[in-house]
Each structure stands twice: as structure tokens, then as C-alpha cells.
């Protein structure tokens, strides 16, 4: 506004000057006086303008200082927590190191392989990427909580909320020995955001994660400035996510996308050697990996000298291969097969949270009941939603159908940034009588008719636990039609917002904290139900999320997210279920102490083969 007033002042002076053009000589003194007056006005306007500019600069500098201070505090906190974790790990490691066989190799069996080995492509993502992502390392390393820390390939520095400066560390190389440069980082971001000149139509899997990036430019050969098109608190995190691929520009330009998909050269802790699609992927330890075994963050130089991934799609055959000694690690084995193997004493069973908080999304943004046109949607009544939560005995399901190690979920993940610690005290328990009472009170004593949709066969025992949930809901008065759906059909319907019924949604919490929340709770999210009307509470959730996305102050952001999670839970916005646990079985010589609180898969760099 000040700037606009200043422009108005200059404009007025200009108009006055124009106005004197046709005056007679008699009027000269008056004209001089007018000119002096106008000059004074001009000077005043200029002074005003300068003062405003100074004020703006001071504000900007102040903002930058505040942000820098906040970032420094954040960094200090991260360093402190990482140092503690490192000390603890070093202590544990010292005991075990003498028994590790550093020349050992291992063979791991997987149920699925990627179609191509280019980790940047949408075709290589999903569950099958576990057999490939160890070839890749992100720009920045991660602490045990999954937050980015400067180091690894590069350092970072925020310049206000406008750009992120990435400065390369020296001596980092790709698997082919070529140095990793700022130009490679630029190329990587361009390739993943469809801006690379050689192929703007590249089928990137990372466009969502990098949506904050604007233009980027090389400041010098070691420095890249990435503009933030939309200020994002997750900017650095998105360049540190597990499996984020760093691409060698020269190599890809030489071999093309097809060639790269068949023979990836990257920066990960394992080097790709060869593969046969549908059979095996062979790799060796990257002995030149820049993060040594005593490095404080992940990933690090692996213990295993080599690794072979084998594709054995059938679970029983995977277990048989382990029992026959053909493989050392059988990935993704259901608990009913894994537990007896662990109890035999001949194998180690690895459990870890799968970064997926299962919940059933309820269609509370739709006004009308799809079963009774003209009637209000019952799911918009909080009592009905609470009744659904009270009807499901989550503990019984995890104990009897799953591994018994699953945590109840209050949001995407209880380990998530901003999780309110007092929330477990307010958990919806299992109380079918209260559920019936609430349904009756809400006017649905005769029941609530609903479909219940889930993706069949995607997760361990999903058919079993969805049958159990449906039956428990029926017990209290819901009339449930359980519908198993094919993934392609489901994703299409969900994306087009055609789903009007509750559906099981296994959102990964491994995405950046704000990003995964955005996918799951934002009313405008890709996989949300059709949005017709919002309750006050849902609107508040959206508002808190929008505020958190651009809040650089750690404490304030945590508070926003905490408020969001609390409202979302207490409104019974979903039927809250549990965090999936992955189960893998390994030969007794293989040991794994997870580094991450929620590892996405077995951390190969952290897998140790003990001397026998």
C-alpha cells in the first residue's frame, strides 16, 4: 500500500509539470515557484520510496534471519538426536563387529521385481522397488526418524522461503567413477519434473514429491540454486527420501532412458552388476561409498560384500528356497509361515513397521446417502462414525490375524512428527454396546447400509481382516456389503472421485510428513471421496494443513499438525485400524538391527552376516 501511495505522489508531481507547459512569461516566477514546489514534492516522494524500500529490505532480512535461526535450531535438534542415536549404535556395534563376516554375500528372495531398474520411473516404484532401491542414494542422508540432514552428497542452505542452495561435497562419485556434480543434481531434478530437454515426457514417479521446485540454476560447478515455486517445509526432505535417485547426466544422455532402465549407474551403497528380468538382480558392495560404517546417518557402507535378489513369486516356494538353503533371506512372508520358522531356532524373523497406517476412509464430505436418495448421508453424523470405530476390535484383529506387533493408528503413523502424546488416552476402544446405542441415538436403530471397498490381495491377510471388520460392523447394526476390488479399477475410481462408500486406504507414512498428511486428510486430495460439503471440523482440518505446509517454525508447525491430528481423530473421520508390520525370514547367520524407526524394507546396507 505504501508503494502504491508513493507512485501516486510521483504521478501527481508529473501531472503538475505537464500542466505548466502553456503558461505566459508573466507567470514565470509563479512557474518557478511551482517548479520548486514540484521538485520538493518529487524529493519527498523519492525519500518516501527509499524509506519504504529500506523498510521492505529490513523486513526481508529480518524474515531471513528468523528463518535461518529456526533452521539452525532445527538442525541443532536433529544433530543432537542423531548424535545420541549414533552413540547408542556405536556401543552396540562395537560388541558385534568382531563377529561380522565382511566378505560374505547373501541371496534374498522377493515376490516381485521392477519392470525396469530406473528408480525414477513410475514403473519401478511400489513394493517391487525393494529389490532395486539399494542401488540408489538420495542427495542428503536421513536420521533414524526419516528426516533429512545435511551431508552425504551435498550440504543445503535455505535462502528465505524462496530457494534452496545445494552445495556439493567433494570426492563423491557415481558407480562408474565419474564425479557427482551440481549439474547432475540439476539434471536429476529436471528429469524427475519433466523439464529435461532430452525427454520432457519421462514417466517420473517423483513429480508429487518435487512439486515445490521451480526453476533451478547452476551458481557454479559445485552449487545449485533451486527456486521454490511453492514454499515447502519439506523441500530438503524430498531430496533425501529413501530410494530418491541421483542420475548421472552424461551416462543417461549416452545410453538413453531405455539403456538406463537396463543398467543403472547411481550413487547407492550397492553397485548394480547384472540382471535377468524375472530371474535375478546381482549387485556388489560399493566400496567407494562415501558414508563409512561409522557415519552417523543412513545409508552407510554395507557389511555384505555382495547381494543377489531372486524373484520367487510364490510365498511357499520362497520359504522352501530358504529352507533348502538356496536363499538367505525370504522377504514378505506372512506371519503364519514366518513365526514357526522363527520358533524353530534355525532362522531369524525380522519384523518392522511397514510405514502404512491402515484406515477406512469414510465418505463424510458427501451430502446425500447413496443408498437412500434424498436422505442425509449417515456418515456425516459423528455418532455413526464413532459407532463404527467402537464396533471394530482392532486388538483382536492384530492378535489373531496379524502378527500381534501392529500398533493401533491414530493417524498415518504414531511416530509421525506432530503426533499429540495425550491422544492415546482418548482412544476409541472396543465397545459394541455403546456403538449400538449411538446408532440408535442417531436414528439408525435399523442399521446403516453401506458398501465397504478394499484392494484385494495387496497386503498381508487383507481379505481376512476385512472380512473380520465387516462382520464386527454387522454385529452392531451396519449392513455391510464387502467389495474386494482390483487395484487398477480402484485407483481409477478413487482418482476420479467416483467412490461414495467407505474404503480401506493404506497410505504410506514414509512420504514426507506434510506430504503424506496432504494425501490423506486434505479434502481436495487425489484419493479423497467426492467433496460436496464440508463440516466445520473438516474445514478446520484443511485450514490447519494449509497453514502447516508453509510454516517454517518447527514448534508452530508441530502445534498445527498436533491440532490437526487431534481434531481428525476425535471427529472419528476414519475407522482407525493399525500400522502394518512387514515380516521377513532370514538364515540364522544374518542379523539386522533396524536403523530407521520405520524402515520401508530390510536395510541391506545394515544387514550383517555373522561368522559361523
Amino acid at each position: 500500500m505504501l508503494r502504491a501511495s508513493a507512485r501516486a505522489g510521483v504521478g501527481a508531481a508529473g501531472l503538475a509539470l505537464v500542466g505548466c507547459g502553456g503558461d505566459d512569461d508573466d507567470d514565470q516566477p509563479q512557474a518557478v515557484a511551482q517548479a520548486d514546489q514540484q521538485q520538493d514534492q518529487q524529493q519527498q516522494a523519492m525519500q518516501q520510496q527509499q524509506a519504504m524500500q529500506q523498510q521492505e529490505q529490513q523486513q526481508a532480512m529480518q524474515q531471513q534471519d528468523e528463518q535461518a535461526e529456526q533452521q539452525a535450531m532445527q538442525q541443532e535438534q536433529q544433530e543432537q538426536s542423531a548424535a545420541e542415536a549414533q552413540a547408542q549404535q556405536q556401543e552396540q556395534q562395537a560388541v558385534a563387529d568382531d563377529n561380522i563376516d565382511y566378505s560374505a554375500t547373501a541371496i534374498g528372495a522377493y515376490g516381485a521385481f521392477p519392470q525396469i531398474l530406473d528408480q525414477g520411473s513410475a514403473l519401478a516404484r511400489g513394493g517391487q522397488s525393494a529389490s532395486n532401491n539399494y542401488h540408489y542414494a538420495a542427495v542428503f542422508p536421513l536420521d533414524p526418524f526419516g528426516s533429512a540432514v545435511p551431508g552425504g552428497l551435498a550440504e543445503w542452505e535455505f535462502v528465505g522461503a524462496e530457494s534452496l542452495i545445494v552445495t556439493m561435497n567433494e570426492g563423491r562419485t557415481f558407480h562408474d567413477g565419474s564425479p557427482v556434480t551440481a549439474e547432475d543434481v540439476k539434471f536429476t531434478i529436471d528429469r524427475l519434473t519433466g523439464k529435461a530437454e532430452y525427454n520432457p515426457e519421462y514417466n517420473s514417479a517423483w513429480t508429487g514429491e518435487l512439486s515445490w521446485t521451480g526453476d533451478n540454476e547452476l551458481v557454479d560447478e559445485n552449487t545449485l540454486r533451486i527456486e521454490q515455486a511453492a514454499p515447502s517445509v519439506d523441500a530438503a526432505n524430498s531430496l533425501a527420501l529413501g530410494g530418491f535417485p541421483m542420475f548421472p547426466k552424461a551416462y543417461i544422455e549416452e545410453v538413453g532412458d531405455d539403456g538406463y532402465g537396463q543398467f543403472p549407474v547411481a550413487t547407492g551403497s550397492f553397485k548394480f552388476v547384472e540382471w535377468s528380468a524375472d530371474e535375478y538382480i546381482k549387485s556388489v558392495r560399493n566400496d567407494d561409498y562415501y558414508n563409512g560404517r561409522d557415519y552417523g546417518y543412513a545409508p552407510r557402507l554395507p557389511y555384505l560384500a555382495g547381494y543377489e535378489a531372486r524373484l520367487i513369486p510364490e510365498i511357499g516356494a520362497r520359504v522352501s528356497a530358504l529352507e533348502a538353503g538356496e536363499v538367505d533371506l525370504a522377504n514378505s512372508i506372512p506371519p503364519d509361515l514366518a513365526v514357526p520358522l522363527g520358533e524353530s531356532g534355525d532362522y531369524n524373523v525380522f519384523y518392522h513397521p511397514a510405514q502404512r497406517g491402515l484406515h477406512i476412509k469414510l465418505p463424510m464430505t458427501i451430502e446425500e446417502d447413496p443408498y437412500n436418495p434424498g436422505q442425509p448421508n449417515p456418515w456425516r453424523d459423528r455418532r455413526v462414525r464413532i459407532a463404527a470405530n467402537l464396533a471394530v476390535d482392532v486388538d483382536a484383529i492384530t492378535e489373531n490375524i496379524m502378527t500381534g506387533r501392529e500398533n493401533y493408528t491414530y493417524t498415518l503413523s504414531s511416530g509421525q512428527f506432530g503426533f499429540p502424546e495425550d491422544l492415546p488416552e482418548q482412544r476409541w476402544g472396543y465397545d459394541p454396546d455403546e456403538a449400538r446405542r449411538l446408532l440408535a441415538e442417531a436414528g439408525y436403530a435399523d442399521g446403516v447400509e453401506t458398501d465397504l471397498i478394499y484392494l484385494a490381495g495387496l497386503y498381508t491377510n487383507d481379505q481376512l481382516f476385512m472380512e473380520a471388520i465387516a462382520e464386527m460392523l454387522r454385529e452392531v447394526g451396519f449392513i455391510v456389503n464387502l467389495i474386494p476390488e482390483d487395484i487398477s479399477k480402484f485407483l481409477g475410481e478413487a482418482r476420479n472421485k467416483e467412490l461414495t462408500a467407505p474404503y480401506l486406504f493404506p497410505q504410506s507414512a514414509g512420504f514426507t510428513s506434510i506430504g503424506s498428511m496432504a494425501i490423506s486428510v486434505d479434502s481436495a486430495a487425489t484419493y479423497e471421496h467426492r467433496v460436496e460439503v464440508l463440516s466445520d471440523e473438516r474445514a478446520e482440518v484443511d485450514r490447519l494443513l494449509a497453514a502447516a505446509k508453509t510454516e517454517f517454525d518447527t514448534d508452530k508447525r508441530q502445534q498445527l499438525l498436533s491440532d490437526l491430528v487431534r481434531i481428525h481423530y476425535l471427529e472419528a473421520s476414519w475407522i482407525f485400524l493399525f500400522e502394518l508390520v512387514q515380516t521377513h525370514v532370514a538364515a540364522s547367520r544374518l542379523h539386522w538391527d533396524p536403523y530407521f524407526l520405520q524402515p520401508p524394507s530390510v536395510e541391506l546396507w545394515n544387514l550383517k552376516s555373522m561368522k559361523t
Binding site: 519392470q115 525396469i116 520411473s121 513410475a122 514403473l123 516404484r125 519433466g194 515426457e201 514417466n203 517420473s204 514417479a205 517423483w206 513429480t207 508429487g208 514429491e209 532412458d257 531405455d258 532402465g261 535377468s276 528380468a277 524375472d278 530371474e279 535375478y280 531372486r310 524373484l311 520367487i312 513369486p313 510364490e314 511357499g316 516356494a317 522352501s320 528356497a321 529352507e323 533348502a324 538353503g325 538356496e326 482390483d486 487395484i487 487398477s488 479399477k489 485407483l491 481409477g492 482418482r495 494425501i519 487425489t526
Partner: protein, 308 residues
């Protein structure tokens, strides 16, 4: 023979054309591959761009025309998922499946036919009862179960054979037995019933009355006639082995074309489905022509030119 074969081949080409056209239409009716192809958080613009790039926004008739033109040039386009030529995707796995199918077929011939003959010759005896029991079990047992059972016994318990993969000859044994299980049992029963029928004919009695040796009667007179009925079934079996190896390939992690087609159907990878079905259709047709030709050699009464 040529006058019979040429129309037969032309007819077969028409059959392949119809089959492939049906697959073209059918594969587009089962769903949209782009939902599975795109990243989960892909924008609608990116999805539309992918559809456009793959020609899926063209009118169906244009897509069909492009497809037929591609077939004539043996250019089926790239796999939507691996981005490799669809033909390469199928052909690189084809030999593994052919190898498995032929091994299974040899087992069917080597086990099913002789035991069927033996059971017919010793009708009502203990060997006949055992053979019938084996045939019953072989046909009743699902092949994935047989595969897992073999793995448990011969790989896990005895350690004689590898559980899975495609390495040397030893890797082929259990998948081939599993794939042959049903076919061998069926061949055994068909051979037995065919032999029993032939053995009851007058000309067999006449041959024996002439004082011919039992061996000569069985090999020259009985088996040759019994096999005539069997050969059509064996031809269909050989064709089905190629198309029906999916389960065995999954259980034994055998990197063949069956598993590829199964996965491609799941992902709606049209180009690979089309090549896969084309290969199977050509295989079926070729086997049928071979069966026709083999009649000519086995039974002089059947003249491929139409004489009897």
C-alpha cells in the same frame, strides 16, 4: 498334400487374425492401463499426456488400424510397463516356456502312453489298478499343489533338486513333472481305453489267429490304431502346455512367457498381451497342422487330399 495344406494354412492365418482381433478388442474392454502405469500422485494432466503418448486417446478404429499395420510389420509397439519392444519381451522368455512344455510333453509320452498300454494289456491286474489310481490322482491334484509337494520332498527334505529358477537340467525336472502331471494321467487313461477298444476288435483276433507274435500284434496292429485317436488329444495337450504353464512358472519362478502374459493381463499391458496371444494362437494352429500331417503317416486310409 500341398493342395490340402495351402488352404489349411490360409484358413489358419484367418483364425490367427480373428483371434488377435478379438484380443485387441477384449484387452481394451478390461480396463485402462494408465491408472496402473502412472505414479499414485500423478496429476490428471500427466495421465492424459501418457494416454496421448500411447495413442489411447485415438478413436478405436484408428488404434485397430495402427495395430494391424504393426502386426504386418511384426512391430507391436513397446510394452507400456517395461518400455521395451513387446516382441522382445515375449521372445526373450519364449524359449524358456517352449523348453518346459517340450520337456513336459516328452514326459507325457514317455510315462502316460507306455503305462496306459501296460494297464490295457494287464486289465484288472494289480499294475492296472495302480496305473488307474495314479491317473486318478494325477488328474485330481491341482498342479500348484503337486509343485509345492515336489519342492518339499525333493528340494527341502532330500536336497536333491533346486527349489526354483532356471539354471541347469536339474532345474527343469520338477517343473516338467508338475506340468506333465495332468497330461500324463489323461494320456494314460486315453491310451488304456483306446487300447482296450482296439484289442477287442476282430482284426486283432485274426492277427493272433494267424500266429503273429504278441509283440507284433500289439506294436503293429493295436498300438498304431489306438494312437490315431490319441494323437489329436496329444496335439491339443502340446498346445495347451505352452498356454497353461502360468501356474508352474509362478511356483518354480520359471522365467517364461506364461508368467509374463499373466502379469501383462493384470497390468493391462496391451502390446505384450497381443504378442503373447498371437504367439499362442500361432502355436495352436501350427500344432493342429502338424497333427493333420501326422495322420497321413499313421493311417494310409486318411489321405490328406481327401481320398479314403
Amino acid at each position: 498334400m500341398a493342395s490340402h495344406l495351402i488352404p489349411r494354412v490360409l484358413q489358419s492365418i484367418a483364425v490367427v487374425f480373428v483371434v488377435v482381433s478379438l484380443v485387441f478388442v477384449g484387452s481394451r474392454l478390461i480396463g485402462d492401463p494408465i491408472e496402473a502405469y502412472s505414479a499414485r500422485n500423478a496429476t490428471q494432466e500427466a495421465i492424459d499426456a501418457a494416454r496421448d503418448r500411447l495413442g489411447l486417446l485415438d478413436p478405436m478404429i484408428v488404434q485397430y488400424g495402427n495395430f494391424l499395420w504393426g502386426v504386418l510389420r511384426l512391430d507391436f509397439g513397446d510394452s507400456i510397463f517395461s518400455e521395451q519392444p513387446a516382441w522382445d519381451e515375449v521372445s526373450s522368455r519364449l524359449w524358456a516356456t517352449v523348453q518346459l512344455s517340450l520337456a513336459a510333453f516328452v514326459l507325457i509320452l514317455a510315462v502316460g502312453v507306455p503305462i496306459g498300454v501296460l494297464a490295457a494289456l494287464r486289465r484288472g491286474s494289480v499294475p492296472d489298478l495302480i496305473a488307474r489310481l495314479i491317473a486318478l490322482v494325477g488328474q485330481a491334484m491341482p498342479n500348484f499343489w503337486l509343485g509345492l509337494l515336489l519342492i518339499f520332498i525333493f528340494a527341502v527334505q532330500l536336497g536333491w533338486l533346486p527349489t526354483s529358477g532356471r539354471g541347469g537340467f536339474e532345474n527343469l525336472i520338477m517343473p516338467a513333472i508338475t506340468l506333465a502331471g495332468f497330461g500324463a494321467a489323461a494320456a494314460m487313461r486315453l491310451t488304456r481305453s483306446g487300447m482296450l477298444e482296439v484289442l477287442s476288435n476282430d482284426y486283432i483276433r485274426t492277427a493272433r489267429a494267424k500266429g503273429l507274435a504278441d509283440r507284433t500284434v500289439i506294436l503293429r496292429h493295436a498300438m498304431r490304431n489306438a494312437l490315431l485317436g490319441l494323437i489329436t488329444v496329444l496335439g491339443i495337450m502340446l498346445a495347451q502346455l505352452l498356454a497353461g504353464s502360468i501356474i508352474v512358472e509362478v511356483v518354480f519362478a520359471w522365467p517364461g512367457v506364461g508368467r509374463l502374459i499373466f502379469r501383462s493381463i493384470t497390468l493391462r499391458d496391451f502390446p505384450v498381451i497381443q504378442v503373447g496371444v498371437l504367439v499362442i494362437a500361432v502355436w495352436f494352429v501350427a500344432i493342429n497342422i502338424l497333427v493333420d500331417i501326422s495322420y497321413n503317416f499313421l493311417d494310409p486310409r486318411i489321405r490328406v487330399g481327401g481320398e479314403t
